[in-house]
Symmetry: C2
Amino acid sequence: MSANPQRSTDDGLIAELAAIIGPGAVRRGAELDERYIRNAWGYGNETAQTPRAIVWPRSTGEVSRVLSYCNAIGQTVVPQGGLSGVVGGACATARDVVVSLERMNGIGEIDDESIIVAVEAGATLQAISERLAERRLVFPVDIGSRATATLGGMIASNAGGLNVVKYGMMRQNVLGLEAVLADGTVVGGLGKVLKDNAGYDLKHIFIGSEGTLGIVTRATVRVFDKPQAISTAFVGVACFAGVARLLRRLRQLPLGTLAAYEVMWSSYGQLIREFCTRARIPFPTDCAFYLLIEAHVECDAIERVLAEALESGEAIDAVVAKSERERAALWLVREGSGEGLRKLGSLVTFDISLPLADMPLFVEQASREVAALFPATRSIALAHGADGNLHLIFATGGGSAEERLAIDHLVYRKVKEIAGSISAEHGIGTSKRPYLGYSRSAAEIELMKRLKSTLDPKGILNPGKVLHDVG
Amino acid sequence: MSANPQRSTDDGLIAELAAIIGPGAVRRGAELDERYIRNAWGYGNETAQTPRAIVWPRSTGEVSRVLSYCNAIGQTVVPQGGLSGVVGGACATARDVVVSLERMNGIGEIDDESIIVAVEAGATLQAISERLAERRLVFPVDIGSRATATLGGMIASNAGGLNVVKYGMMRQNVLGLEAVLADGTVVGGLGKVLKDNAGYDLKHIFIGSEGTLGIVTRATVRVFDKPQAISTAFVGVACFAGVARLLRRLRQLPLGTLAAYEVMWSSYGQLIREFCTRARIPFPTDCAFYLLIEAHVECDAIERVLAEALESGEAIDAVVAKSERERAALWLVREGSGEGLRKLGSLVTFDISLPLADMPLFVEQASREVAALFPATRSIALAHGADGNLHLIFATGGGSAEERLAIDHLVYRKVKEIAGSISAEHGIGTSKRPYLGYSRSAAEIELMKRLKSTLDPKGILNPGKVLHDVG
């Protein structure tokens, strides 16, 4: 008999799990690498603990058998992809068993005729994109954490990212989806039809539900021909009215060709100039706003729009990439701020939906109010401008839980006032759960809880994520 | 005391309803015009009966009060828009109260900056489109029954139609949605943000659920700039391989510019030539397939593709519209077959999803097998080719319920064999309910029933539609 009763219980659990999916697919939590416990960015790890155990199923059948067992004994389960989420959605507690999908990483048939690809949930976005590139195809959703983010995690969080204006979010691109319910029942499949109104469309229940209603195991996704032309521009703008007007001007381009409209505040530009060694803003002028614009048209089309913007005074300076190398350098400004952010220490980050026109005042007021509480605060703002999605980052120099709470409270209260969304693309996880009621009515949250209880009556699936534990 | 007990019960019900929303908004079923009872096309009316009563609420609050009352007394309710559905989804039985949304037909604010429009559920597609046209905007979903179809019905049935290849179905275009649950609870609202991952996305539960989970009262929908260029072509093709190859060739056009790829079998061409006086095929050659192609590009772009197709022998003949009048004439071939179909008498119609490549064999086999049972049968086929959506129509000259049943059974069995969908865009209603299990697993139907029981525990909302009555 073991001296440690918890240890002895864990031994029993691990033996049972090993009997279900083989000893090579189970490990004790204490033996785990950090990357199974915490997000590497350092956000959303507030509740993260070492889980009881982890299992690595290799098939939908194995996921089903693990869930069936866990459900029977009331063992809570946390589904895990690449742990690149930033709201704690894939973090476990010491009570949980982690179900990692990383060994289910197959990329199946690419149907070239209708351009659909079948993928297992654990395949990373990068692996999928590389496979598609061989056929001159692209995946519609692209996000910064492409090296670790998995298909399953991207579906569970309805990922958005850099090209939503053109292709939509994950929800718009998943054609078929297979999921395992809490009790081990498998529903759905690798459907490829574009139109299917045969009863309730169950896949939309799982997309964006952050693993609380079922575990996504496989999916079919629409992919697209690599664009024939790509034009990328970096633009400096004098005031926010110019940001909105230039987006309007871009409606001259054929519908569906605008692929990215990334807005960076001067605070972001300063971060790049001061703290980032690799990323370089392509002109010396300090601007109130910088834009990274990408459109799937020939360069002359975007140059015509930019010429008008420069002439009218909206734009101060503009550069259009003339090679793939120059394009990569422009994107590095937008994607290469991690180096600078890490130098600022502990960060409090936001992912808010609000009308584009409301952004400048929101950023200004929130920054002022946070600075009033914590005077050393540096605030940095950037946005997916065409999507109405603002990312706001505060570096206070502190990093205490109280400080984070105070800033969260301040910013989310402002989101509530303007009827924005407290989560545009990152989800709720545990980090934003206290504020769900700022964007959703009591009736809506009650309905979410009824759905959770219906699909997962024992509350074993990713407990405490999105909603407080409901049983 | 009335001599007719049913009549006396109805008097009580009508008095109660009148007390809730006013006597001018309630009428006895027996006083109703046919258009509130049966679809004018004559499809999907198998179960239609005169309802007990109809109510016409003018606001979400009135819908809520009516449902709250009906739920309390266990009175079943059938939500009704324009009754243009073809699967019986809006038909009532003698036990039901109809809730007509036709007086909630307001078209609210058009937000020109982000191009979003707020609409009440009873507004017709035509009224919405006309309002948008004043601003050079277009509604993304267009369907043949635009004069009667309402926003609410289009959301409830996740309508698709003629431009799905470009804009997607209703589900892809609804940004915010307000619905009333069975017990009168109002959820959702007129959200305008493009990205919103704050908890489960409840609107997707109501979209496509055919009024069985809640009544949609208002919504915000994305609308689009009128395309700068529209090219419309009518093409004759010698064999189905050419239909698939030409669709592939059209991938040369910029992504997102192809707006319609309508395929008509020779059987459809014969219907037009023999029985339609207004619609005219623009060339005399009899072809195996006709295509109506529309793309939002200048004519020369589509002419280049067609020149290649003619040269390679895929296309036999082709016409490109040179004016809006010519364009309308080409569309009349695709949309003007009603005149001919009515002359054929009673019809059995199908709306099937299957891969484009499987369509010709499916049509040929199904037509042969139906003709073996009913020798006088004429079969007519057309498809939304880019969506994998086949419409198959059988005119047997008979019209008995047994005949319809035999043909349904035969065709849906074939859909099951090829793992297609028994409903691409029309929904299930009552007409296709017996065959839901051909496209959905027992576990999926069980999950649908659990959702229904969760949202509508007394089963008062549109009973018997999509699923057999569940309580």
